[in-house]
């Protein structure tokens, strides 16, 4: 429980929440009641109905999705969650010294000028510098789906956060688990790690380095996501849809019985046929002798059996997997 320092209202907080958004006046504040100004949002452009229609129309084109899905799916849960993200700009300048690999080459091949028989690696001292500007995006809550965490910020106008707007859709605004300082510290660490990666491309052992890391403007942005659950048949399927752009971040989806039955049936037939051809080709279990009535020559169905049998077996396995697997689909952006 926390009390808003600006409108005096009491509201619920979870463990680990340190940057709070008052659900009554919408003010972002630290647990000490200090107002946080750089707090933005991206407006909802797809309301619940539009998000649901977009989701079902998109999901119904997935492989094996039942044709009546858009008509018969029932939404049993719908919630708009506002996820907090910290976005920092970090200027990084790294000067490094260390040992890099190099090599000498010996004994040229006479038949291939410029190519050598032996290579001897050695270490040589190297130094240099990398200057980069990193844009770092950190999710403000720990328990966040990987796909939502990695989804790009929608290309729509940013605005100052308005709680009234989130309320229009009964949106649940998540408090941030980290303070501005923690976000900046983490951004700084990520920037150092990225610089280290760059340096390690150039040298293999870092002996000394000087980092000049400057974490610049850092802001908090809340991005709305529709978390939807729909029922089809006896099962429930979960999906996340970006509320500003209508992109399907991820969705589980059903596969129709006819698709599964067809896939398993055809897959099995292909696999069996493939295995039989293979067995004929390599004369496993004396199959060639059993088939002597067909008038097989000693060389017939060996090369062809191996190739066609191999192809059929692989395809059969793929079809079986496609038919039996549970699926999740993601819209690539």
């Amino acid at each position: 429980m926390a009390r808003c320092n600006f409108c005096d209202a009491d509201f619920n907080t979870g463990p680990g929440d340190v940057l709070l958004v008052c659900p009554y006046c919408g003010t972002a504040q630290t647990t000490d009641g200090v107002k946080f100004k750089d707090h933005y949002m991206i407006r909802v452009h797809f309301d619940q109905g539009e998000a649901q229609t977009t989701l079902l129309d998109w999901v119904s084109k997935q492989l094996g999705a039942p044709e009546d899905l858009p008509a018969t799916a029932n939404f049993v849960q719908y919630e708009q969650i506002w996820y907090p993200f910290w976005i920092s700009r970090v200027d990084a300048h790294t000067e490094y010294q260390g040992m890099g690999r190099d090599a000498t080459f010996h004994d040229e091949w006479p038949q291939r000028r410029g190519a050598y028989k032996r290579i001897n690696f050695f270490w040589k001292p190297e130094s240099g510098q990398f200057t980069r500007r990193h844009e770092i995006n950190i999710a403000g809550v720990k328990e966040i789906d990987e796909d939502i965490r990695n989804f790009p910020i929608p290309t729509r106008a940013k605005e100052f956060f308005s709680h009234a707007h989130a309320e229009e859709f009964d949106g649940k605004v998540l408090h941030s688990n980290m303070t501005e300082e923690q976000a900046k510290a983490q951004a700084r660490q990520i920037a150092i790690d990225r610089q280290t990666k760059l340096v390690l491309q150039e040298i293999s052992k870092i002996e000394s380095r000087k980092d000049d890391i400057n974490v610049g403007e850092t802001f908090l942005i809340h991005v709305p996501v529709w978390e939807l659950t729909y029922r089809y048949g006896n099962k429930k399927y979960k999906a996340s849809v970006s509320a500003p752009t209508g992109y399907v971040i991820e969705s589980q989806y059903p596969r129709s019985m006819s698709f599964r039955a067809g896939g398993i049936g055809v897959g099995l037939i292909m696999l069996l046929l493939g295995i039989v051809l293979f067995m004929i080709a390599f004369d496993v279990l004396g199959l060639r002798a059993m088939l002597s009535g067909l008038g097989l020559g000693p060389d017939s169905l060996v090369g062809g059996g191996a190739i066609s049998g191999g192809l059929l077996s692989i395809l059969g396995l793929i079809l079986l997997y496609k038919a039996a697997s549970r699926k999740e689909a993601k819209e690539s952006v």
């Binding site: 091949w109 491309q201 062809g304 059996g305 190739i307 395809l315």
Partner: protein, 344 residues
Amino acid sequence: MGSEAESADMFKCPVCNGNVKTGPDDVVITCTYCGGTSTIEGKAIGDHLMEAAVGADERIQGFQEFLDKNKGMNKSLVKNAKIVENRLIYVPVWTAKVKADSYYKGYKTVQVPVQKTRTVRDSDGKTRTETYTDYETGYVPVQSELHTDTDERLLARKGARFYGLGEYLDTIKLEKTVPYNFEKIKDLDPIMLNAEIGQEEYEKAIHGRVADNHRAQAASGLTELFDCRTTSSVRGTTYLQAPFSLIRYKFQGDLYKAAIDGNSGRVVLGEIPITKGQRIMWTLLGLIGIILSGVGGEFLYPQFIAPEMDMTFFGVGLLLTIVGIVMTILGFRVLIMTQRVKKG
């Protein structure tokens, strides 16, 4: 769809004194009255250009041409594709010429043919020596340079990306731009986005990007890259506003999308549905492929065990096998694909 963004900030245009609504993180502001563009501190920003945009109908026309070109045997695609979204959005783009020079050093390996002799015993039990070709590894030192002078474009929004962005940015050409004039595009009712990334920030980012590209290019042909040093210089940095549109369309109840260059009205990247008929056709092709490759194998195998190889049979067999396998892969790939993705 909800109303467009209203922002809490007001910016006073230094040219016409008009009050312009801005987003909180905008750093380059275009006045919605006079089109004057300046930084948030009120400094002028040199050339401010835009690409003109075509109307919704012309975008639909370009979209339908794209469908027509990629419809395959799905004759009803153009007629039955129902557009559900086609909104013009002007995105902020930085572009500049970047000249970059890299020196790099590394090595690669090659296979060197080596004639060797060995002793073999023939069917009569006699031994004789024969020569054969073996391959051994050769190490080739590489020292080379890369010189490029490229147009580098960057979407001036933080952490943002949209469908077809890379392909779209490639279509942006300075020759197609005109001085920014909001009057010319006002009637198209575009969403305007200001830049969140300033000039200095862009130039820094682009140095890094070009250097990383050079390193990747240098490393691509090598077994190991020892050193890669890049110097780059940026010139002619230009800010421009470029029109983009995402078309979402429904076909047989399913939703697809296409990214449109709002300047030409052409599709830069789009999704194409695959109908049942097309899946069946491709699967048949795949099945024929399996049979063909099998026939090829029948030709091939006897040549391997025969004392003398008949090159004609061998060639025919190999050709049939390869063609068959390619047909099989292509055919069954279409069977299990969700959709096709085509560039415009």
